[in-house]
């Protein structure tokens, strides 16, 4: 146990926490996007899917708990590492320069912080439904007669607000920006990157970030353009 504590106190231990928690969160956001893209199918599809998730019972809470612990670990490691990094160079360069560090990698703290704020709004908006309490009253009936929460209508109503859609675009934009560095970085942190795969990894990270952003952006844009109603 003492050895585990020592590992997580070490600089590399915190990097492992960052990488592994980042990977779990990355897999979650991919799954979340795939689920959301069902909005382009018949409304019953996403409503049935949401109904299935909401009725997982203890399974739903287990997943939520794991995600919460993962998020807390990711933020904890980020704060610890950032504070240590600031302490490591008390006197900064009067003239600084960068040769090759990507802009995304140098703005991870600010993109991460804004994404966290966006996440809190997103949970209040669609999970707790306290931003617009009318969402709580939206119900519909599936083809098989089951009465379910009308997630499709809730999403359409939410994104019909230009401001909310814009905020979502900024939120997922910054999340994609954050993942552009995080995706490739986690391989290095756990020692799985080398010169042979470095270029492929970098291009995959950029490609992933673009596809992830477009996939997410499509939903509010489609609602605003009236393609989904």
């Amino acid at each position: 146990m003492q050895n585990f504590a020592r590992l997580f106190r070490s600089s590399l231990g915190k990097k492992y926490v960052m990488a592994v928690s980042g990977l779990i969160l990355l897999l979650f956001v991919i799954g979340h996007l795939v689920g959301n893209l069902q909005i382009f199918a018949h409304p019953d599809v996403i409503n049935a899917y949401a109904h299935f998730l909401q009725n997982l019972g203890p399974g739903l809470w287990a997943v939520r708990l794991i995600l919460l612990i993962t998020l807390v670990a990711h933020v904890w490691a980020a704060v610890e590492l950032t504070l240590e990094n600031k302490r490591a160079r008390p006197e900064t360069y009067r003239q600084d320069d960068t040769i090759q560090a990507s802009y995304a990698s140098r703005t991870m703290r600010i993109s991460g912080f804004i994404v966290l704020a966006f996440l809190i709004f997103h949970l209040a908006h669609y999970t707790l439904q306290v931003v617009d309490t009318e969402y709580q009253e939206m119900y519909t009936t599936l083809a098989d007669g089951t009465e379910v929460h009308d997630v499709h209508a809730m999403m359409v109503k939410g994104f019909q607000s230009v401001w909310i859609s814009l905020f979502y675009l900024v939120g997922v934009g910054l999340l994609s920006w954050h993942l552009r560095h995080g995706f490739a970085s986690m391989f290095q942190s756990i020692g799985l990157r080398n010169a042979t795969i470095a270029q492929t990894l970098e291009k995959t990270a950029i490609g992933f970030a673009i596809i992830y952003f477009l996939g997410n952006a499509l939903i509010p844009i489609a609602v605003l353009a009236g393609w989904v109603s």
Partner: protein
């Protein structure tokens, strides 16, 4: 050529430092950067001023003594080159050069451009060695080393311990140095028996010294005068993870 220098002047560890401007007139483009500083110092001494203190030794790019950050880049704008091997022909007439020491909490400024890099010595003391009986050298072929491993170890061993990786890192991390030293010994059969102990102690010594953490931006490899690859950092990350888990699970 004529240049304007903005040089970091600091009397000692505790004194407040500041940038001081100097005119560097009639500089020969064939001079090395340190020779240019020698000329400036001769002029300063002739004028009764304190010369600019800077570290140097071999001036052949192999000892790792010289250290200066020029316009925000450790060892200056020329890639894979130490500041002693950087020549003035790489600058233009009229350039303004800001010359600062390598900056990190673990590298306190001793005077002007001279920093104390003994934190690196403490990391080497923690594990940068192999425990073998010395004496007469054994027959070379009794211990075969695959060519690939010998090349990989040699790439790591080319680290001269100058500290430019720390100076360039956005977080003043010493990962490239530690990774090169550990990677060199861990790859060779003579160093393998102590691999786990080595990575654990060297990383502990690195953390102890107050260096920052690697954020995988690879500025270190970009400025390294020996072009040491960040792949060694991945190797250290991997080896440290294995060694820690072994220690956690098996004691």
């Amino acid at each position: 050529m004529d240049l304007k220098l903005r040089v970091w002047r600091q009397k000692n560890r505790d004194a407040e430092g500041r940038l001081v401007e100097y005119d560097a007139k009639d500089i020969d483009p064939e001079m090395s950067f340190l020779e240019m500083l020698d000329v400036i110092n001769e002029r300063l001494v002739a004028a009764g001023d304190d010369p600019i203190a800077f570290d140097h030794d071999c001036r052949e790019g192999i000892c790792g003594a010289c250290s200066a950050t020029i316009n925000g880049i450790p060892h200056g704008p020329q890639r894979a080159t130490t500041v002693c091997q950087l020549h003035m022909r790489h600058f233009k007439d009229g350039d303004v050069l800001t010359i600062e020491p390598f900056r990190a909490k673990a590298f306190p400024v001793v005077r002007d451009l001279v920093v104390d890099r003994s934190a690196f010595d403490r990391i080497i003391e923690a594990g940068g060695f192999v425990s073998v009986r010395t004496g007469s050298a054994p027959e070379a072929n009794t211990l075969p080393v695959p060519k690939q491993d010998a090349d990989w170890a040699m790439d790591a061993a080319s680290c001269i311990g100058c500290g430019a990786c720390v100076a360039a890192c956005k977080n003043a991390s010493a990962m490239l140095f530690v990774a090169a030293k550990a990677g060199h010994l861990n790859t060779l059969p003579q160093g393998k028996p102590e691999k786990d102990r080595r990575v654990l102690s060297m990383v502990a010594a690195m953390d102890e010294a107050g260096f920052g953490n690697c954020t995988n931006q690879y500025e270190c490899s970009a400025v390294c005068p020996k072009s040491i690859s960040e792949d060694f950092i991945a190797q250290l990350n991997r080896d440290y993870l294995k060694a820690s888990l072994k220690k956690c699970l098996m004691g």
